[in-house]
């Protein structure tokens, strides 16, 4: 395996935790934390360091091994753990996959069956997975730069339409709601950082600066979460923001640069598609490495199950609210078990 550049690794880390936010991440956060969503992001940022510490500790343990080998070394019943981990992650990938495809269908291609866009996205995932893993990271790094430019365009094209007073009043119902919101950020987004454990640390060049790189990437992601929330609530007001399925996209419709470049929301929103593509590709790679199930089988299974399970967006929302927390909890339990075992073995 060729070595992965540190910058590619860190930018992929950023893409992974950003990806679910514009879809179900923001939607669920607004529902749970309402006007206190910005507080949730701040609490979530602090809590996510616990995840990062666990990630770093597992990554440092036998740094020449990937997560599967580490599980095999640490546990006697490693197969069960691997199967559980894979099923949980695959369930989450179903939700992610439907989320992005439903967005494309509902906003742009109302007459096209969702399976068509799923097949196109699936083909891309199969294609990139047929290459070396370094290809995913190189593509991710390239898309990261494009995304930063697109996000900056959105930020500067919208800043004068924000009414900061819409962010008030905060914490009127105590701290419970923002804490629940922050937990949602962890289980809907930050949890995906652990799929990078499938890359042995030794396969990343210049990895002695990896930790600081991950902290910077996570900080940048949380700053953007906060900006997106301020823009969404500041522009739409909390009452309306909570009624939209994709509120951030609605906000982007008002982006105007220099007063005459407008109607560019479809151009900007492509960054979310890029992020989801990278995340879904890495999940496929991860499950493939863990279970040896071929990539194309995983993708086909994903498409078939999505079509069968999520027959409409209401059903999707209902199922996601249960499926994601359960899957995330399973993954988190496994990760904590690995962490504790590593700690025990010293």
């Amino acid at each position: 395996m060729h070595k992965i550049n540190l910058l590619e690794y860190v930018s992929t880390f950023f893409m992974i935790i950003m990806a679910p936010f514009l879809g179900m991440g923001l939607y669920n956060l607004l529902i749970k934390a309402s006007i206190d969503s910005s507080i949730s992001v701040i609490i979530g940022y602090i809590l996510s360091f616990a995840f990062l510490i666990i990630f770093i500790r597992i990554n440092d343990y036998k740094s020449n091994l990937d997560l599967k080998d580490k599980i095999n070394v640490l546990f006697k019943r490693s197969k069960l753990i691997i199967i559980l981990f894979s099923i949980a992650l695959f369930s989450m990938s179903l939700c992610l996959s439907y989320n992005i495809n439903n967005f494309i269908i509902s906003q742009f291609l109302s007459e096209t069956p969702i399976i068509y866009t799923m097949i196109i996205l699936g083909m891309l995932i199969i294609f990139i997975n047929s290459k070396d893993i370094t290809s995913i990271f190189r593509v991710s790094n390239f898309l990261f730069y494009i995304n930063i430019i697109l996000i900056m365009i959105a930020i500067f094209g919208e800043y004068n339409k924000i009414e900061l007073i819409n962010m008030l009043p905060i914490l009127t119902n105590g701290i419970n709601r923002p804490i629940i919101g922050s937990v949602y950020i962890l289980i809907f987004q930050i949890i995906y950082m652990f799929i990078l454990l499938i890359i042995p640390k030794d396969n990343v060049s210049n990895n002695k600066h990896m930790n600081i790189g991950l902290i910077i990437a996570m900080t940048l992601a949380f700053i953007l979460f906060l900006i997106i929330i301020i823009y969404t609530i500041g522009s739409l007001g909390i009452d309306l923001a909570m009624k939209y399925h994709y509120p951030a996209y609605i906000v982007m419709k008002e982006v105007s640069i220099f007063g005459f470049i407008d109607k560019i929301e479809n151009f900007i929103i492509i960054h979310w598609v890029f992020e989801m593509f990278i995340l879904l590709s890495l999940i496929t790679y991860f499950i493939n490495k863990l279970t040896n199930i071929k990539n194309y089988i995983l993708v086909i299974l994903n498409i078939i199950l999505c079509v069968i399970i999520f027959r409409n967006s209401t059903l999707y929302n209902t199922i996601t609210k249960v499926l994601i927390p359960i899957s995330s909890t399973i993954i988190l339990i496994i990760i904590i078990m690995i962490y504790l075992k590593i700690k025990k073995t010293g």
Binding site: I119, M123, L168, P169, G237, D239, L240, K253, K263
Partner: protein, 358 residues
């Protein structure tokens, strides 16, 4: 195997990309305005669509065509327009929707819901109330009535500020907020010409009354929406006009008292009384006169809205919710106190130093 893969990929790319959902430009009925009224249980629509066929007229101007349709719901009526139009309507370039006054009095919840849900239309189109028959309003010109009306609204807003143009997205923000009521400008026919008229005020989704053009200006001043306007007052028994080109309004709330501070700056545009304009005290006197006059008018206007309409178009409740939450539960619209402070700064006197008719 490699060739089979390439063949499969090529087939997929050609067969299942956007071509599946394609709509030729020629097949689209580009809709610029939708007029909505109600007759009994039926919604009646008048839809202004661009004529995209090559025109043979000399001036090469863009013409429009009106289609009428009806249905039990607005969406049904919109779709039934296909019975008359050879093209499917395309709402992405919608300039405005025009709502019949009587329908607005019954409630516009269904209109709000339809366009909120609709993914095709952008939410940046304007919303207007029509006091006259919608078809007659849209028939007044064979050009794009919606575009010319919207441009007139914008010019009015830029230079007079006595109306409150509102896009659907902004209206939706107010509609979704339970603490603020909607305000929509209206139009009427005056000798076969469309004119922008009073501003309609709502309670919930129902139109309950109008405020006139002067009151609309006061409303815009309170809401900090004035970019340029003129104010006329009696000064030494003669009418004097000042032009305002910079405004800033801030509203603070404490213990049920709303402190409204309006800062205006501009210049003397027309003065008919014989005074020495080189004397700073005279300038101060003019400023004071306008400040007192405007304060009195704004106070009366707020009181009128409270007493006559009992609708919070200013969003005082929303402001209290956001800035003074601990007193929010005791909010009573009828028992609010106001402390209005107006500060006018007249910086210039135009070309003249002294009055010409001294």
């Amino acid at each position: 195997m490699k060739y089979i893969k390439i063949l499969i990929i090529s087939l997929f790319i050609t067969l299942i990309t956007g071509c599946y959902n394609y709509r030729e430009l020629n097949d689209l009925g580009i809709t610029t305005a939708v007029g909505i009224s109600k007759d009994g249980d039926n919604y009646n629509l008048v839809i202004e669509v661009l004529k995209t066929e090559t025109s043979s007229n000399e001036e090469n101007k863009i013409e429009t065509i009106l289609y009428e349709s009806s249905g039990k719901t607005i969406q049904e009526a919109l779709r039934r327009a296909i019975l008359k139009s050879p093209k499917r309507l395309y709402a992405n370039h919608l300039y405005m929707i025009l709502i019949d006054e009587e329908l607005a009095k019954d409630g516009i919840a269904s209109i709000m819901d339809l366009f909120f849900r609709d993914v095709e239309s952008r939410k940046q189109f304007y919303v207007l109330i029509s006091k006259d028959d919608i078809k007659k309003v849209l028939e007044t010109t064979d050009e794009i009535t919606a575009k010319s009306l919207v441009e007139r609204l914008k010019v009015n807003d830029d230079y007079l500020s006595n109306t409150t143009p509102i896009t659907f997205s902004k209206l939706l923000t107010k509609y979704a907020n339970p603490n603020i009521e909607m305000v929509i400008p209206s139009v009427k026919l005056n000798d076969k010409e469309i004119v922008i008229d009073d501003t309609a005020i709502f309670k919930g989704d129902k139109l309950i009354g109008y405020i006139d053009e002067h009151e609309s200006l006061y409303y815009s001043l309170i809401m900090n929406n004035v970019s340029d306007t003129v104010l006329t007052s009696l000064y030494k028994n003669e009418y004097t006009t000042i032009e305002i080109n910079n405004t800033n309004t801030s509203i603070n709330v404490l213990n049920n008292t709303f402190k409204i501070k309006i800062d205006l700056s501009g210049y003397i545009a027309e003065i008919n009384s014989k005074v020495d304009l080189t004397n700073p005290e005279i300038i101060k006197e003019i400023e004071d006169t306008f400040e007192e006059d405007l304060k009195s008018r704004i106070s009366k206007f707020i009181q009128k809205v409270i007493d006559k309409y009992d609708t919070d178009i200013f969003g005082f409740k929303d402001l209290m919710y956001k800035k003074d939450f601990k007193n929010y539960k005791d909010f009573n619209f009828k028992k609010l106190n106001f402390d209005i402070n107006i500060d006018i700064l007249l910086k210039y006197k135009g070309n003249g130093v002294k009055e010409l008719n001294a």
